[in-house]
Structures are given as structure tokens and as C-alpha cells.
């Protein structure tokens, strides 16, 4: 009660001057204490509009326009049919599936950062785990839209769910699309729960520090009665660890199953045993790329260079480089087996992928996903945030091209030359894709404004940890 009365706008202080990046050696900048951490992160959320950067408004508005474009495209799609897209026979899957796989891939970073890096105790994840989890959820939301939109009769999407019905009809369990339903929905659910559980202590902090009563009421409901007692913390840590353990295999399973959509078929270019690990690597690759794409501007806009430091960005960039090499290995093996198998359809398919009508996209993809990211070997490049950001965008594009190559070039020239065709996306293909980008960005913008985008309590823990180190000079030298 005491705390609530004290909380008011004047009590929350955001720094007025630009805080510089403390460098690549430490996770958090100096001079942070519990109060400043709470104010700096929570303040973004609870302070009135005038404290938000103008860029937020502009960005959110543009994203909102794209959401409208998405709604228009979906309206047309539902009233006219998937014919508004560039699909045909033989290329019966196009942008919708490409985008689905792309978004799902992006959705991998969150869980990986939160769960896997948590389990292996990587401290640099602290400042970006919340944000990347949110990004995961939003990416999965975008991804989840596509399998429904791409149906010929989208209003019957629930027939893919095993619900009891008077027709005694169940889904057909041998179809990888059915496995997808479970893989994606499980991943979405676990990601949501994991993210929400992680939010609880912060929601309680906001409940306690928010300057307006309506804010306090909302956060009070959302924080589910969190009081921060020792027993709460005890149970919380158990639960978080368990959830991290549960989420970790999902990082592998979702994209493995998504890759089955292709690998289980008998189409040259899809029917490939390397697909599961290769897809997972690709997913992590694109996930980290997207995290960097978003985090670099975020910390600049909100003056949080000491909360998300170069250390975090560099670590993410290194990880991206490493995963990128696995992806490159995947490409190599794909090509090698196309040749080594001696299968005329496979070898033709890969040759066509490289030199056929979509060949330029293949080489662009090699440039984006393999050649350009090698720049990250250089520390100079990793420390140049403009370059890192550009490379992350390049990788995002490259990963989209990869999915385009897999989906389209395999389909457009398969077994019988008589049925070969071309796939040319229409403006509505592009509108739907751009629309989901807008939807994703709008959710990110709203998230940044409505929930703490960095985990307050984990940063506080880190601050506590750092302060302890500062009091012990011997240890400090080691650090």
C-alpha cells in the first residue's frame, strides 16, 4: 500500500542524455542499480506517450497500414479463392508455404535464447530473452496464419483437428501436414506459457511502480497475485527450469516436422534426409538474424545501450556465424547428394535450381546466406553495428530465398516434362507477405509499449551479480 501511493510519474526517472555502449566485455553497463533498472525498463511501458520516441508512432502507423493491406488481401482471398495468388499446377504451393516456413524459422530464436541458453547458463541472453520470446510468439502467429490462408476452403481448417464429430471422421495421421498441426500448436502454446511465466515477476513490479491506477489494476490482474515471497521465487525457478527443459526439444522438433512437409514427399528437391537438421539450423540462423535486426534499433531508440550491450550483440553475431556454417554445410550436402545419388531427377533438379529460370535466386541465396555472413569473422565488423544490422537483414532475405528455392524450384520442374511450369507471384502474394510483416512489426511495437521488453528481474539479478563482483577486486580482474 505504501509503495502504491508513492508511485507517481515524477518518481520515475529516465536518463535524458544518450548513454554510450559500455563495450564488448560486459553484459550490463556501470551505474545501474535496482531502482534505475526498474525505472529504465518499466518506465518505457508505464510513462505517458510524450516519453515515447516519435519513431515509435511513425513505425507503428506504417505497420498498421500494412495490417490493413493484409486484411484487404485476406478479404479478397476469402471471397475469391487462392486463385488470386500465383499458384498453379505444378506449383501448388507458393508464397504461403514459403512464408510459413520463414516465419516459423524466425520463431526459433526466442525459445533457443530463453531455454537453451538458459540451460547452458549464458549470461548475455538476459537482456534479450524477453524480447526474442515475444518475437517468437509473434512470428509463430504470422506463421500460423499461412497454413489456414493457403487452404482452398479455409473455413474448414478445423477438419485438420482431431475433434469428435458425428461423421466419425478423423484427420489422416500419415500426412506431415497433420503432424504440423500438432508441432506448431504445441510450440506456440509452450512458447506462450514460457513467455508468460517469465513475465510474472515483472508484471508484479509494474503493478507496484506504475503511476496510474488503471495501469496498476491491469498489471495486478496479469501478475496473478505474485508477491515475490521466497516460496514464490522457489516455485518459480523450478517451473521455469522445467519449462526450459520442455521447450528445448521443441526447438528441434518444430522445424524437423516442418521439414517433413517436404522430406516425406517423393518430389526431387524435397525428398531429402538431410532436411531436418538443415531446417533447424536454418531456423536458428534466421531467428538470430531477426533478433539482431530488431534489437539493434530498439536499444538505440530507447536509449538502452547499457542494458543491451555490444557483448550481447557480438555473442549473437558469433552464434549466427556458427549456425550459418552449418547451413552452408547443408547446402553443400544437398548438392553433393543430388550428384552422388546418380538419380537423374535429383541431379536435374539441382542443376535446374542453379541454372534454371530461378537460378539467379539460388546464387543470390548463396551470396546472402553463405558469402556475406563470413564478414562476421572479423571483430571489426562485429563491432560495427550498422554492418551487423545490414548482415542480419541480408540473412533474413537469404533465408526467405532459401525457402523459395526449396518450394518453387522443386515443384516447377519435376518428373514429367509435359507438366513443367513457372510460378510468378502476384501482387496479392506480395501483399499478403508484406501484410504479415506489418502485423509482426505492429505486434512488436505494441509489445515494446505495453510490456517490459527486457526482463527487469533478471537484469536486477545480473546487476546484483555484477555489484558483488565489483566489491571483490580479485574476481573483477578475472571478469
Amino acid at each position: 500500500m505504501d509503495q502504491i501511493e508513492k508511485a507517481n510519474v515524477n518518481n520515475i526517472h529516465l536518463p535524458t542524455e544518450v548513454i554510450p555502449d559500455p563495450g564488448a566485455n560486459i553484459v550490463l553497463g556501470h551505474g545501474l542499480d535496482y531502482k534505475t533498472v526498474t525505472d529504465r525498463i518499466g518506465g518505457i511501458v508505464v510513462l505517458p506517450w510524450k516519453n515515447s520516441p516519435k519513431k515509435w508512432l511513425v513505425g507503428a502507423f506504417i505497420s498498421f497500414c500494412f495490417v490493413n493491406l493484409l486484411m484487404l488481401a485476406v478479404y479478397l482471398l476469402f471471397t475469391k479463392g487462392v486463385g488470386i495468388w500465383g499458384l498453379n499446377i505444378p506449383v501448388a504451393w507458393g508464397f504461403a508455404i514459403i512464408n510459413f516456413v520463414w516465419w516459423i524459422g524466425i520463431g526459433h530464436a526466442g525459445t533457443l535464447i530463453s531455454a537453451v541458453l538458459f540451460l547452458v547458463k549464458q549470461d548475455w541472453r538476459t537482456s534479450i530473452n524477453r524480447f526474442s520470446e515475444a518475437m517468437t510468439l509473434f512470428a509463430v502467429a504470422c506463421a500460423g496464419m499461412f497454413p489456414i490462408l493457403h487452404l482452398g476452403r479455409p473455413w474448414l481448417f478445423y477438419w485438420l483437428l482431431p475433434y469428435p464429430n458425428s461423421m466419425w471422421l478423423w484427420p489422416q495421421p500419415r500426412s506431415p501436414l497433420e503432424w504440423d498441426v500438432f508441432a506448431v500448436s504445441t510450440y506456440g502454446t509452450v512458447s506462450l506459457v514460457f513467455w508468460y511465466v517469465g513475465l510474472l515477476p515483472d508484471l508484479a513490479s509494474l503493478r507496484d511502480t506504475a503511476p496510474y491506477l488503471w495501469q496498476r489494476k491491469i498489471y495486478a490482474i496479469l501478475s496473478l497475485g505474485w508477491r515475490g515471497s521466497a516460496i514464490h521465487w522457489h516455485r518459480y525457478q523450478k517451473a521455469y527450469l522445467l519449462l526450459a527443459g520442455l521447450a528445448t526439444p521443441l526447438v528441434l522438433s518444430v522445424h524437423t516436422i516442418v521439414s517433413f512437409d517436404f522430406a516425406v514427399s517423393q518430389l526431387p528437391g524435397w525428398h531429402t534426409t538431410i532436411f531436418p537438421p538443415y531446417f533447424v539450423a536454418g531456423a536458428v540462423y534466421s531467428g538470430f538474424a531477426m533478433v539482431l535486426t530488431l534489437v539493434i534499433p530498439l536499444r538505440a531508440w530507447y536509449n538502452m545501450r547499457d542494458l543491451i550491450t555490444l557483448r550481447t550483440i557480438e555473442a549473437a553475431a558469433k552464434l549466427m556465424l556458427g549456425v550459418g556454417l552449418i547451413v552452408a554445410y547443408g547446402y553443400g550436402m544437398e548438392a553433393f547428394f543430388a550428384w552422388y545419388s546418380g538419380d537423374k531427377y535429383e541431379s536435374f533438379m539441382y542443376w535446374n535450381r542453379m541454372t534454371g529460370p530461378y537460378g539467379f535466386m539460388y546464387w543470390l541465396l548463396i551470396l546472402c546466406n553463405i558469402a556475406i555472413p563470413q564478414l562476421l569473422w572479423s571483430q571489426k565488423v562485429r563491432h560495427n553495428l550498422g554492418l551487423v544490422w545490414t548482415i542480419s537483414i541480408v540473412i533474413n532475405i537469404g533465408m526467405w530465398l532459401e525457402r523459395f528455392e526449396i518450394v518453387v524450384t522443386s515443384l516447377h520442374r519435376d518428373f514429367l516434362p509435359s507438366s513443367w511450369g513457372m510460378y510468378i507471384p502476384t501482387k496479392w502474394d506480395i501483399a499478403t507477405y508484406a501484410g504479415t510483416l506489418g502485423f509482426f512489426m505492429l505486434l512488436i511495437f505494441l509489445f515494446v509499449r505495453a510490456l517490459p521488453s527486457i526482463s527487469i528481474f533478471e537484469v536486477r539479478e545480473q546487476v546484483h551479480h555484477d555489484l558483488q563482483h565489483e566489491n571483490k577486486p580479485a574476481v573483477e580482474e578475472h571478469a
Binding site: 482452398g152 485438420l160 500426412s175
Partner: protein
């Protein structure tokens, strides 16, 4: 006198008015038209505008309108008093039932009033749910092909061949199949029009009788009747009666797709009108001088059947050897053992050289014969009396005479060639009519069915000539180009709506019986002549019946019933004529020398243009090129390279100052220096489907050089999008079609699977014994050795299975819907210009390990216990994964709502046994499951008897002219399909994928001449 037709050339019509104004005055005064003309188009538009509740509101409004009341008054003069002045909708609707049906409110069909006789294989009486079949016939350029028409509750839904008819033998061409769509064509003309304004049959007969009186007073002077070619005994007798009554009247015929040289040559040969018939069942060597005998002409189905039998190899016989000499790839040419590309204009000389080589006296020619000609001549002379030289349908008289002379010299006359009596009456030509019109000799012109304003050669300038007639009366199914220039337009009947008769190529008569009352109260040509003869009330039934009664006075009832039932009139086949004297070959008058020649032919799918408004035919991929919805200009690849032409570039073809511009299609097997253009397009008043697409080849046709003309060509800037369904025509080392020389075949009868490694059965995850097919195991074989690629199967399938038409734009996007497609591949001796072409029909393979089934998440495509891969439309949510996983890409997806659920008239056409698919679902070949079920149910009801082999016939199989498709139960070792599947040349497509298709192929075998192997025109490397 307002002009109501939206597409009417207003300005010209005014001009027309002016030129005929003085002549029109007396006519106008004869016609009492006190009422303002009712605008039917406007009314119909009004009625068509609304739907559901709004529709009825519109009808109310329409019923209240002055227009409608006036219309009723004119149509039912006796009834007008009964319509109360205040609006009583109920009464009005009662009176108006029929008229409103015409206005598009309902598409109900009625059984004809006269008794018609059903064909043998159906219940005696109408059983709900079971179709009836009736025998009738369809005519093309006068000649009949017998058909059986399926009727569901008085709705004709499907046309099939009549096995008893000599020109059908149970098969059909694409045109018979597609004719059902013409019946329900929503653009058909619905009412009598006088100068574009609404009129009535009563008004017309009144006016026409007065005219006839005036004409009659002058012994018919100034009366001209223009028809298409006809063999109808009744019509001819009516015409004869008319000409006897009015000796000065004249009969003209116009048939753009019938080359008059064929008839004139036959007349010279036989000394009287004759028809030259070829018997392929006796021929061991065939030389075709640009004849498309397997696909064109009145006897094509018989030819195809005979040819296929001769090409058989499985019973140890040596197959026929077939040399094709042609300027442009034809359907028949795709089966040739040797194909020589020669300019059309060079073929007469080549025929003479061949004649000379075979010892026929022929005029001396400059130039030397090509080497291969001697070898061909040698081959012919070593097969005396068992060979055949066939002249091209569009070749001049000299080639026909030379071919006959060669056949006579080889002793073929009497074995493979016979002369039959011809029943095509000798009439004046369109050229005569044009000059008569221009000289002012024609006062009243009656045009029955022919459409000369569109299809007359441009050199005649018929559009100017027709204006010279004082009165033009047109009987036609559409308000088309010619109707626009006519004072009266009377809607004509479809062949399924009327009584008439017609002869097959061999003279056999079929009495055509109607299956429905005319949907739009059309009038038949017989009625039109009756009106002129002063008997406006005679019905076509009475006219036709009276004619046959006069020829068969004894036992007429039995004769009539039997003839209707069988679809052929017994004993009407033509007599074989004795050969006339020896044929002397006239001196050749070569075409004016020119770098380029242009050849004209009817379009392979829309013919001379009369089929232009048929969406099925428009969308049917044309043989060889697989293009749809357009007529193209064929150019040889090396010529195209020289001129820098690519597919879709525009080319201007000029013949004697007239030119036409069309898109280029780079076509292998097109002769050097020759371009081929097609009739049938460039129409302006055919209807919503056929209007304003393509160019009109008639626009550069010269009446003196109708089919082969010297030309100049020039590339024109611009591009044109062409919708084709098969972009890649090389086999890309995948060998979907497997072919061998006959010698190789004798050595390795299993040549198609010689290099194939059998897939180990245990490779599958699923146990071998999981699916057994204890009852039936349906399967299909397709014999690539005799498939001509004519595409009759594709249209038959479309008609049987309610397959939607998607339009050019969607075809261009790769979304055509055909369940069976005919793949066309080029292969052979490696030249781009003259490759060998192969046809391969591809329906669903009905794989035993069907890759589509496992990937469907909702189980919408499932395997039946008889091995059929079934599509459950209701369950399909449209993930399209099945199509992606189908290596044959035979699945078709409804990307939009392709089926027309709105147009009333089309609803009657649909096969009630097949679902009309909605948007968003996948579809594909079902092996005509509805036909299988029908027979199964029937067999079960008949004491659960066994299904007899051949009892179930799929639509594609039924239509196939060469019977290349066999369907049946693979479990029955005696069944034809099991025997075909057991042949050593049987193979499955993409066998190594272990999908185990139920549809399998029989390899293609060519019997090429050893002496020519490795040379030009040879089909395989030496």
C-alpha cells in the same frame, strides 16, 4: 427501327438503310407493325440483372412493363385480351410461362411432342435416375456421323458414338462430344428479329409468304437460297420441289472447310458426282499427300479404326507403313513412319513425280524428284493392290487426280480405293452468288445456316455484295455476322432439337430425331423451305416423315421405328461406281513463285469458326502445339531463327494486298518457306466465348487460291500472350514415351522395360499383403502405338465429368482443368526442324501406392478396395499437397469457382451423376466411377451376376477413334485390359518410383523403311 444489338456496326447499318431504303418501302407497308417494337434484349437484360428476391422484384417490374404486355400481345395475339388491365401477376405469369422461360428465368427442357425411339440399351420406360439413349446423328459439311445421345429426364447430357453407324463405329471426334455444349449455349439466338428489333415467327411467316407470292409470280426469279453442304434427302427433295416450282430460283452452297476440288476431281474420275473412299484395312503401305485422313473429313473415324487395326503388332502381323508428305504437322502425320516436310504448293509436282516414277503418264515437269520419292515409289510398287495414295483434303484437283491415277496404276482401285455415289447436290457456289448479287440478279436471299459474311473469302467482298439484295432472310443459331446484315433473322435449331435426315460418307441415311423441343423455339431448315413453299404450318416431323413415307410406302411404321431405333436406315449405303475412263493428268499451273507460301486450314478445335463459341473446344489444347484459345501462325524453327521470331511475336501475312497479323508459333515439322494459318477465329458476333479472339484467316483468303497461296510475311513489333498447356515438349531423357523400330520390337518385344531395373517390392514400408483386391482390380491401358492425339478423349471426359472451362487467362497461369491431357513430345533424329512427335494421353494413374493418399491431412483422397484412387470432394479442404506429391501432375485444382453455377441454360447440360465441383477443392480422373457404379448396381440387381468384360466403358475409351484406351478388370485374366497389360511392350510411367500405376502404356512401334533410315524424314537414327 432502332438498332438493339450492342455489337451492331451502327454506322454501317445506317449506310445499309440508305442503300436499300427505296426497296424497303413496299416491304414496310406490307408488314403491319402498328406496335412499337418490343426490345427483347433490354427486357432480358432487366430480367438477368437480379438474383434471388431481387430477381422476383425485377420480374414484377418486367411484368408490369408496357414492353412485356406488348410482347405478349404480339406473340399470342388471341390472348392479349385476357390480360387484365390492372396488373395481376399470377395470371400474367400463367400466360407467360413459355416466354419467360425464354427470357432466361428458367431452363426447363421438354420432351418433343412426337414419339421418338430410344436406343437399345436402356430400360423400356423412364426410370428415375437411369438415363435413356437415343440414336441420331450430327452433320459436318453435310455428312453425318451417327451418335447415341444420353438423356436424363429429357435433358440431353452426353453424346457418344453409334456403333451401328458406318461413319462412327461407336467413336466420336471432338466435335460430336462438344456439340452438347452448343445446345445449351446461352448465347444462342432466342427469337425472331426483324432488323435487330423483336419480332415473331407469325410476323415472319406472314411477310415471307407475301414475298414468296411475289417471287412466285416471277417463276422464282431473284430468289437465291444459300445453304451449307447438305446430304439430307428430305431437304434436297424440298429444294428440288422448290426449284421445280420456281425454275428461276437458284441454290447456292458455301462450306468454307470443304474443298470443292475434292468433288470436282471425283467427278472427273468417275464421270459423275462421286465420293472416293479409301479402305485402310487392306493397305500395307500408305502415302499421304498432305491428308489428315485420321482426323478430318466425313470418314475419319472409320479411317482411324481401320488404320489402328492395320498398325497392330501384337498378333504377329507386320504393321502398315505410312509415309506422310505435308507442309504442316497434322494429327495423322504424328503417326507416320516417315514424315517429309514439303511446301503445300510443291505437293502437286511431287504427286506428278511419284506418278511418273510409277509409270503413270504425266506431263513433263521441271526439277528433279527428291531421293526419297524413288524409295517411296519402290515401296509402293512392291505392294501392288495393297497400298494407298491419299490426296490432301485441301490440295488442288491435280493432286486428287494424280493420286487416283497412281492408285489405279498400282491396282488399288477395287481393293483399297472405291468410288461411291455422291449425294451432295450440285449447286452454284458462293462466287456465283456474289456476282449475282453484284449484278443485281438477287432480290430475296435466304441464307440457311451458312455464315458467309464471316467466312467468305475476302476477295469476294461479300459484306458489300449482300447489301445489294432487297431482302435477306437468315436462319441461324446465333445472331451472328450474317444475321447482322439480314432483314430477318430466324433462330435455328440445334440437331438435338429437330427432325431431319442426313447421309454418312457412304450414303447411309440416319433419320435425326430430336431429344428435346427446341429450347428457344428455333425453326428448322425444313420449316424455312416450307414457308417459302407456302406451307408455313408444316412441322419438321411431318415433313421428314412424309418424305420417308413416300419412299417406303409398305410397312412404314416398322421401317420408321427401326430406322429411328438403330440410327441408320437399312439399305441406304451408296452403290459402288465403276471406275470411269483412265485419268489424264492436266498440266500443272504452278503458283506464282514466291519465297513464302501460306496455307489455310480449319482450326483443329474450332473448325471453320462455327464452333467458336464453344468453350470446351476453345480450351482444348490443340494437337501438336498444345495451345488454347487462339489461332496461331506456324513457322518452321529454322525459318523463325532466320527472321528472329519467337513464340508470341507478331507476324503479318500478306496475300495479294490483303494482310492479317497474328502471333507466331515456332512449330517443328512445318515446311520451310511455308506458314500455316487457321480459320475459325477473328469472329465478331459468335457470342461471349468466341468473340474478338485471334485473327480471321478469311480476311486474306482469295477465292481463286483458297487454301494455298503465295504470300509475303513480315515481323511486326509487339508481343501476344499465348496460353499453352505444355511448355516443354522434349522428353529430357525421361522417356515417358517409349518407342522402337519394328525390327527392334521383334527382337525385344519388351523394349519399353528393357533398361528398367525392377523395384524391389520390399522397399515399401507397408506390407505387400496389406491391400488385396479380391473382387475387382480396375485398370487401364493406353496404346501409344495407335494414339493419334486427336483429343476426343479429353472432350468426352469434359462432357462426362462436368469439367469446368477456365478461360485463357487461367490456362496461361497453368490452371486448366482437363482430367485427361494429351502430352506431346518431340524426339528422334535430333533436328529441331523435323523431329518425330509422340502423343501420350495422361489420366490419373490410380497408383496402388498412391503418393497423393498419404499426404492428405483430412483423408480426402483415398483408396477403394477395387484399387481406385478416389477423390472425396466434400472432404477436401484444398491443401494441394496431393498435387505436389503426384509425379504425374494429373490433379486439377479449383483455384476459383470455375464451375458456372449461375448460367441457367448450362445447368441442364450437366451429368447428374457427377458432382459439380466448387471452389477450393482438388479433382482428377475417377476412371468414370459413376459408370462403374452404374454397371455394378445393375449386375447386382440381376442376381448378383458377374460383370462382363467391356460392360464398363469409360468416357475417354468410348470416344477414342482408334480404341487406344482399354479399361477393365485386371483380376479377370480373360479381360482385354488384362491381356493388354500382360503384353511385353506394356510399361508404367515412372516405374522406378514404385507407385505401381494401374494405368499403363503400350510402347510405340514404328515400321520405317530400311532404305530411308537415317535420312531426312526418317523417324529414328539408323
Amino acid at each position: 427501327m432502332k438498332d438493339h444489338s450492342p455489337s451492331h456496326p451502327n454506322g454501317n447499318m445506317n449506310e445499309h438503310d440508305k442503300t436499300t431504303a427505296s426497296a424497303l418501302v413496299p416491304l414496310e407497308s406490307l408488314l403491319e407493325t402498328p406496335h412499337k417494337k418490343v426490345d427483347l434484349a433490354e427486357l432480358r437484360e432487366k430480367l438477368a440483372a437480379g438474383r434471388g428476391p431481387a430477381f422476383w422484384r425485377t420480374l414484377d417490374e418486367a411484368a408490369e412493363s408496357e414492353h412485356l404486355k406488348e410482347y405478349v400481345e404480339q406473340e399470342f395475339p388471341g390472348l392479349s385480351g385476357q390480360i387484365p388491365q390492372g396488373v395481376d401477376r399470377r395470371n400474367l405469369l400463367k400466360v407467360m410461362g413459355a416466354s419467360l422461360a425464354m427470357a432466361g428465368a428458367a431452363g426447363c427442357t421438354k420432351l418433343p411432342l412426337e414419339s421418338i425411339v430410344p436406343y437399345v440399351r436402356q430400360p423400356e420406360n423412364i426410370v428415375p435416375g437411369l438415363p435413356m439413349f437415343y440414336a441420331t446423328a450430327i452433320t459436318n459439311a453435310g455428312y453425318a456421323k451417327g451418335v447415341l445421345v444420353e438423356s436424363h429426364f429429357n435433358r440431353p447430357t452426353k453424346v457418344e458414338g453409334n456403333p451401328d453407324h458406318p461413319a462412327s463405329l461407336g467413336s466420336t471426334t471432338i466435335f460430336e462430344q462438344a456439340s452438347i455444349l452448343n445446345l445449351y449455349d446461352p448465347d444462342r439466338s432466342e427469337t425472331v428479329l426483324q432488323r435487330g428489333g423483336l419480332s415473331t415467327w407469325g410476323q415472319f411467316t406472314g411477310a415471307a409468304s407475301l414475298e414468296a407470292q411475289s417471287v412466285g409470280s416471277r417463276q422464282g426469279e431473284g430468289l437465291a437460297i444459300l445453304t451449307g453442304l447438305t446430304t439430307s434427302p428430305t431437304f434436297i427433295s424440298q429444294m428440288n420441289a422448290l426449284l421445280a416450282q420456281w425454275p428461276k430460283a437458284k441454290w447456292y452452297t458455301h462450306e468454307p472447310s470443304a474443298n470443292p476440288a475434292v468433288r470436282s476431281a471425283a467427278k472427273k474420275i468417275a464421270g459423275r458426282p462421286a465420293y472416293v473412299d479409301y479402305d485402310f484395312s487392306q493397305a500395307d503401305v500408305i502415302v499421304s499427300l498432305e491428308s489428315d485422313f485420321l482426323n478430318a473429313g466425313p470418314a475419319s473415324l472409320k479411317n482411324a479404326r481401320q488404320f489402328a487395326a492395320k498398325r497392330g503388332i501384337d498378333n504377329g502381323q507386320t504393321p502398315v507403313r505410312y509415309y506422310a508428305v505435308e507442309s504442316s504437322p497434322s494429327v495423322s502425320g504424328s503417326l507416320a513412319d516417315h514424315r517429309f516436310s514439303v511446301k503445300s504448293s510443291a505437293i502437286p509436282a511431287m504427286a506428278y513425280q511419284l506418278a511418273k516414277a510409277l509409270g503413270v503418264a504425266s506431263p513433263d515437269l521441271a526439277g528433279t524428284a527428291p531421293d526419297w520419292l524413288a524409295k517411296v515409289a519402290e515401296d509402293l510398287s512392291s505392294h501392288k493392290s495393297r497400298c494407298l495414295v491419299i490426296p490432301g483434303e485441301y490440295q488442288p484437283e491435280s493432286v486428287h487426280l494424280a493420286a487416283y491415277a497412281i492408285n489405279a496404276a498400282l491396282g488399288n482401285v477395287g481393293t483399297t480405293v472405291r468410288l461411291l455415289e455422291s449425294y451432295i447436290p450440285e449447286t452454284s457456289s458462293l462466287e456465283d452468288l456474289t456476282s449475282d448479287l453484284n449484278n443485281g440478279h438477287v432480290e430475296m436471299l435466304v441464307i440457311i445456316e451458312a455464315n458467309p459474311v464471316y467466312s467468305a473469302p475476302a476477295s469476294l467482298n461479300f459484306e458489300a455484295a449482300i447489301r445489294k439484295a432487297r431482302l435477306v432472310v437468315r436462319l441461324g443459331q446465333h445472331f451472328d455476322e450474317t444475321s447482322r446484315w439480314s432483314h430477318w433473322h430466324v433462330p435455328s435449331v440445334h440437331y438435338l432439337e429437330t427432325w431431319t435426315d442426313a447421309r454418312a460418307f457412304d450414303g447411309t441415311v440416319t433419320i435425326l430425331q430430336p431429344l428435346v423441343e427446341p429450347l428457344y423455339r428455333g425453326k428448322s431448315p425444313h420449316e424455312m423451305l416450307s414457308v417459302l413453299l407456302g406451307k408455313p404450318d408444316a412441322t419438321p416431323h411431318d415433313i421428314v416423315k412424309a418424305y420417308w413415307q413416300s419412299t417406303n410406302p409398305n410397312g412404314f411404321d416398322a421401317f420408321w421405328k427401326t430406322s429411328l431405333h438403330n440410327g441408320v436406315v437399312a439399305g441406304t449405303a451408296a452403290a459402288v461406281l465403276n471406275a470411269g475412263g483412265p485419268v489424264t493428268l492436266p498440266a500443272l499451273t504452278p503458283l506464282e513463285s514466291s519465297e513464302w507460301e501460306v496455307t489455310f486450314q480449319p482450326d483443329p478445335t474450332v473448325g471453320d469458326g462455327s464452333w467458336a463459341n464453344n468453350g470446351w473446344l476453345q480450351e482444348l489444347p490443340k494437337p501438336q502445339t498444345k495451345t488454347t484459345w487462339d489461332n496461331l501462325i506456324f513457322v518452321r524453327p529454322s525459318d523463325a531463327e532466320k527472321m528472329g521470331l519467337h513464340n508470341g511475336d507478331l507476324l503479318k501475312v500478306t496475300v495479294k494486298d490483303r494482310s492479317v497479323t497474328g502471333p507466331v508459333w515456332v512449330t517443328p515439322n512445318q515446311a520451310q518457306g511455308s506458314v500455316r494459318i487457321f480459320f475459325g477465329y477473328g469472329r465478331t458476333a459468335s457470342g461471349r466465348v468466341g468473340n474478338k479472339i485471334g485473327y480471321s484467316a478469311y480476311a486474306i483468303q482469295d477465292a481463286s487460291l483458297p487454301y494455298i497461296a503465295p504470300a509475303t510475311i513480315a515481323k511486326v513489333p509487339g508481343r501476344y500472350e499465348i496460353a499453352n498447356t505444355q511448355a516443354t515438349q522434349s522428353m529430357e531423357e525421361r522417356e515417358p514415351v517409349r518407342a522402337a523400330e519394328f525390327a527392334e520390337f521383334k527382337e525385344h518385344p519388351n523394349f519399353p522395360t528393357l533398361e528398367e531395373k525392377p523395384v524391389p517390392k520390399e522397399l515399401s514400408l507397408y506390407p505387400e499383403s496389406q491391400w488385396t483386391y479380391p473382387n475387382h482390380k480396375w485398370g487401364m491401358t493406353i496404346d501409344l502405338n495407335i494414339c493419334t492425339g486427336c483429343s476426343a478423349c479429353a472432350i468426352a471426359c469434359q462432357a462426362e465429368n462436368n469439367i469446368a472451362v477456365v478461360g485463357k487467362d487461367q490456362v496461361a497461369r497453368g490452371r486448366h482443368m482437363h482430367w485427361i491431357r494429351i502430352d506431346q513430345y518431340y524426339s528422334g533424329n535430333g533436328t529441331l526442324d523435323e523431329p518425330v512427335s509422340y502423343n501420350q494421353p495422361v489420366p490419373c494413374m490410380h497408383c496402388e501406392n498412391a503418393p497423393c493418399e498419404v499426404v492428405c491431412p483430412v483423408g480426402a483422397t483415398v483408396h477403394s478396395n477395387e484399387g481406385i484412387n478416389q477423390m472425396v470432394y466434400n472432404r477436401c479442404v484444398g491443401t494441394r499437397y496431393c498435387s505436389n506429391n503426384c509425379p504425374y501432375k494429373v490433379r486439377r485444382f479449383n483455384f476459383y469457382l470455375y464451375s458456372d453455377w449461375e448460367t441457367e441454360s448450362l445447368k441442364g447440360m450437366r451429368n447428374p451423376d457427377v458432382t459439380v465441383r466448387s471452389r477450393g477443392v482438388m479433382e482428377k480422373c475417377s476412371y468414370c466411377i459413376q459408370r462403374i457404379q452404374e454397371v455394378k448396381i445393375k449386375a447386382e440387381k440381376e442376381d448378383n451376376r458377374k460383370i462382363v468384360d467391356g460392360e464398363i466403358i469409360t468416357a475417354c475409351q468410348q470416344a477414342c477413334p482408334t480404341q487406344a484406351i482399354t479399361f477393365g478388370d485386371l483380376n479377370d485374366p480373360q479381360s482385354k485390359v488384362a491381356q493388354m497389360a500382360a503384353l511385353k511392350r506394356n510399361y508404367s510411367l515412372l516405374d522406378d518410383l514404385n507407385n505401381r500405376p494401374r494405368t499403363t502404356y503400350l510402347g510405340n512401334v514404328r515400321n520405317s523403311n530400311e532404305a530411308l533410315r537415317g535420312q531426312r524424314g526418317s523417324n529414328r537414327e539408323g
